[in-house]
Subunit: 430 residues, 4 copies
């Protein structure tokens, strides 16, 4: 089975090592600038580097193929055809950035008859597995009962049973690949007033979740992901953080809420929702992306980089309160790469997330706290903006280089023409 | 004190009685049409009439003056100048509609040195008092500490204490006027990122609420009213039903959530939020109005009459489930009469709310349930639309006439030139 | 070629005739009620019937298959497999409603090697062809150049040329089927800041349109359809009516704007946009549907029936001004039938549109005008609401029956189990 | 008349000069960093400095008092009480920033019996006058006819005449103070369906504008400012750029559209609207501010700094195309200082706008163009982000210092306790 080869991986590693040597003067200048800046804030650059080095992002397996809209999907050359090839692509992102060592699977899309091999192969490529996702929003080949009118929340008890079983299967599969969390996002809802009974559908949701929760493997967390609309266009059962929170509370300590940045109504203050869930001890993690209209699934930080920073600021603020010196939340990416090369897009995303995280670490919390106490919004903004515009790219490069990654991941990826090489390789293999 | 006169009230009552006699043929035709229609649905028209007769709405004292925007307020002739005159105007609405026997006060706006007289006078005019509202969103004359940067959620403990005391005072005043509920809506929040600490501000909110809850008079309910924005334009402490729900849970059984229809982000499915709160046993009541953009405070049903019906449908559905044969929720109106005569606007509003409620009673729930079970959105919609377009105006007139009200409240109000008379009277008195 | 058979069509016609005889007492009651109501408004019921009978809607060929979201598409039994079968389904909608005699094609989806046969077959089924739509938002099999980064607005002149040629081809095809209009909606835009140059892309748009306009067949109209987002999630070239209007003006008299009800930002006052375009003499027609969030493509009138009525009110108001006694605009339906049987959904849609149109005809324009002159919003609302709730279903049934349609199209369709029969027939044929 | 004193102004100037000397090492470091960065982009730092020095912003007179919401207004110490005091405050902003030499007046709010003195006094304080604004959204004392139901668009010809005359008066006043532009923003619209006739109201708007345009003083420009909602909550006559554009076209070359950043529906791509108007040669200028929900009138760049940069990018891009080496558009600020000290807020705003402008100048347009040509969104974003995060603060300081301003305007303002001094002075004078 040719996909199990790792020669290309070792080659890429080698190329990175060579490149690192050449990083040179511009890098040094940027690095010194960043360290100097941090020092001028009275902070320890070493400490910031250490914390930055502990940042770990999870890559979604489904993001490595071309995303699309309901109108069309534009394929691209070298697109991975199965989970093994997706894992290969993920390893490239991790290799170049040094901060994406885990992959989130989607079941049954990523089903393979030999999960042990998958796990082993991933390990060779430096990867482990993050939360596993379950797909109850479409009918799978040979599926007996349809999810057309709902899955875990269907008015039909047989469909609910069917969907619960799929989640149990998903967790079984996840155990084999080494996951520790399962994410339940569902499209259940209705397109028209009257179609679905609001209270009954939520009752069914809770009832199904209780069954799943009972079977949750030891040490696992169940993530509940809410969304206001799409694919349902009138009503969604788990439509906002309040619904997810109420459900998580009714389940117990191992049920947590997952915030996908794009799953909100226009104008929602997402950073405040994050803070509220943190405070109520029910925030489990994130699906990072950006959006302007709906669940647009664009590159994190591409539309509202300041908002991304403000969200990271809440994460860091809560870490400090809990005296956690690294993120205690699950930080996953969930984007749809409709027009960009997914590998490039994810390299870019890792940079954006790392930069936002780093800047959040640089917020002068004492000054911020003082401004908040004294009703001084001008001072508070100055504190945040100072951190937001801090020149951190040199530090990010350093942390990446230390881990064997690239100074400029996208630049390196393009320079070595990785996509072209990959396409050739897959053509030959395919 | 001339405002204590009730001669005009008795005169109006007399005029209504005379008018009732003349209701005549068109009314009979409409009434028969409505009853015939209800019978054709296999329902009891008598029963519907009875349930409709039990509908009680509360009128907001603050709605009888001209509302306005931040740009301007256009006054109108005969505007009431104090709470006694507001009560007079409320009594007109109640007299003509027969369904608005309670007034919601706002403290300290409606403070009077002699609440016993107020209560007695209201009684003479056929009115009692509903929930009392507290104003911590502005600084009152002679107020020592400012709410500019928050009240119950301020970062300053002295301001919080001050605001808590205002709420306690409000409840004391409410006891004197016969209220049984207090509504806490606050503008607390921030206009800029960083200005307010998300978690601390909510902590302060909870802490203040706990103090208030401890002093809640026996038999009372504390209503928490959420709102996403305005007057704060970046962050509001109690920004959605999820926040209000979490707060209400942390307080106890006597704390409930209040839904103002206009306090949502664009696209929110308000009827689903209503259902969710009902299901979680934390819905206390409503502030009815309509809106297209933000908290526009327009006449209920003026923009989205179908949405109003769908909300009423949830209320009726929950009543049926609980075997309650009348509304168990607090049904208040909260509108801003910027360009309409407030009395006319409230007469219109009562008609809209009664019609929506009546139509919700006519929903064929068995057929709806069947459609929901069978994944039949077309049938479900047909059930709802049939009820929504049911010809109920004759029945509404009948219920009003039975209570001494007018067949057509707005028509009658205009016919007798009430506003002109009122203006003359107040000019003379003033 | 079995699809060319029309026996099932004649059979269905016969069944309708038999059913009509049985329409009976309830229909008579409703019809009399409607006529009585219209008379009581001082209007001529005959005139309203006549005007209603002149309402003609166009059905979109692409709506007869299952719609879907980017997540999934749930197929249903008896789904049409080509344009001939779609035409069959359209003829059922027209037969039962008597008001949908034209089909809008989509090119190249509906390409057939023998358009003359298609036209002839459609004629046998009582149908003609409406505006033709062109698909430049996806890559077609064997297409040389990709529309991934734009079509008519691409930065690549070869791609633009390619797309222009597709539109010219589309118009050629349309001539063969008897169309008189071509609709250009395109997904051209960008997902990320910087990706597309705003001004250049619009220049390219205009340049391409000018080429198309030059080749517009005599007597034809070019419809420009705008949309704020989707499938592009940051910027769309023709993003609102203002862009479409500016483009149409730059082209000339035969270029008009098409309003798809779902192609607006949250809160847009669509009826006002309709009025503005009417006033500027640049409104060509509509794509009817309903939506709550984005371009949800739900059944017209299913979410906001009052809004649909207000839009129809603008159409009727403009007709009256122009002394047109029937609609002078192109009235097309554009919906995505994700969970409903498309035929049922379109039957329902025709009913909704006819009812809204009929109610708009019943608006007392004199009274409305008077209220507008006197700054009397309460009176104006009463005029509109009276028309909106007018009992018109009997009249709609009458008009349908007169045209050989069904009193209750959805009811009849279900009663004769049309979908089951169709499925059987297609299974046999397939 | 004590307000005519300028001693405090000269004193402030002196303090600034002394402070400049002390700017010192940190400033030098930042300045060198900025210049080095610009050089590394292959651009001329001198040229950028020169262009930055040519940036001129206009301050709105109405922003110097406390803004408020419809709920309340929180006053602050030292609030200016008339236009002379507002001018004083504006001069402080200009002195410290060196880039706000013009004030926009609002008529009749800023009416004074002696405009010649006002102009002279402003001149002494280094200020001139920008566009004059007219207030037809409220009734002024002693006003005979009310704008309650509209002004320029009222259905009452007498009210329209009255409003047109107010605009003519406004222009007369503007001539005396040296304005060259007049801005017409109006609240005209309706709160309820039916209240206002869409087409007639726009006809009235155009008719009134034509009268105004006829009297436009030689060399003047008429700015039309659109807004989707507020203070009207259902329909606004001039509701979007399309309406304003159509109106401006019907008037002629001296009528231009004004874009207020907060006057858009949720999700609007404002930078694309800016580009469209630029392309159609109908963009006259801006009202800068920021917002999250509606017309929140927050500090420019406080919520979405990246969006502000993208808007500036369109301005600079159009300048380059026109070979204009300084802004050819009117750049005004329009904010509501509800909780911040207005002077501080405007100092902050000037910094934000200058930074955004400077960064837009640093965009590598050649690289951007190349990325756009090649369908390379990743490269395009990298170009924009590089400019957005460029370290420009040192350059901004330099330009300010060169003009006699402060290195850090807000810091300096606080350091010298200007607000306290001002309050004392006004107390004594008052």
């Amino acid at each position: 089975m040719q996909v199990m080869r790792v020669d290309w991986y070792l080659e890429l590693k080698g190329a990175l090592e060579k490149e690192a040597v050449r990083s040179g003067a511009e890098f040094i200048r940027q690095y010194k600038l960043a360290r100097g800046h941090i020092k001028s804030l009275g902070m320890s650059a070493d400490e910031i580097e250490k914390q930055l080095a502990s940042l770990k992002l999870a890559l979604p397996s489904w993001a490595f193929g071309a995303g699309g809209t309901r109108f069309f999907r534009f394929p691209f050359p070298g697109e991975p055809s199965d989970i093994f090839e997706k894992i290969q692509d993920a390893s490239v992102v991790n290799l170049l950035t040094g901060m994406a060592p885990r992959v989130a699977l989607h079941y049954p899309w990523d089903l393979t008859s030999d999960p042990a091999s998958l796990r082993k192969y991933a390990g060779k490529l430096g990867l482990g597995f993050d939360a596993i996702n379950v797909n109850t929003f479409q009918d799978h080949p040979e599926q007996e009962l349809s999810y057309k009118f709902g899955s875990l929340c269907s008015s039909d008890p047989l469909v609910r049973k069917h969907a619960v079983e799929l989640v149990l299967e998903t967790m079984d599969y996840g155990k084999k690949t080494g996951s520790k969390d399962v994410i339940v996002w569902l499209g259940d809802g209705s397109n028209y007033p009257g179609q679905m009974h609001f209270r009954k559908s939520f009752d069914h949701y809770l009832e199904s979740l209780h069954k799943i929760y009972k079977h949750l493997p030891s040490g696992w967390t169940l993530f509940l992901e809410y969304k206001p609309f799409e694919p349902s266009f009138y009503y969604t059962v788990n439509f906002d953080w309040g619904c997810a929170y109420a459900a998580a509370c009714s389940l117990g300590k191992k049920a947590m809420v997952l915030v996908d940045l794009g799953h909100h109504l226009p104008g929602a203050n997402v950073e405040a929702i994050v803070a509220r869930l943190l405070q109520l001890d029910k925030l489990g993690g994130f699906h990072f992306n950006d959006s302007k209209y709906g669940d647009d699934d664009l590159t994190a930080g591409s539309i509202s980089p300041y908002r991304l920073f403000l969200i990271m600021n809440e994460i860091v603020d809560a870490q400090i309160e809990r005296k956690a010196n690294k993120p205690f939340l699950s930080l996953m990416i969930d984007q749809s790469h409709n027009i960009k090369d997914p590998i490039e897009d994810l390299l870019q995303t890792c940079e954006e997330l790392a930069a936002a995280y780093c800047k959040a670490l640089l917020v002068d919390r004492e000054a911020l706290c003082k401004a908040q106490k004294h009703g001084d919004p001008v001072a508070a903004e100055r504190v945040l903006k100072a951190a937001f515009y801090a020149p951190v790219s040199g530090l990010l490069s350093k942390v990446r280089l230390d881990k064997g990654g690239a100074r400029d991941p996208v630049g390196f990826y393009r320079k070595i023409k990785y996509r072209e090489k990959l396409t050739d390789r897959r053509k030959k293999e395919g």
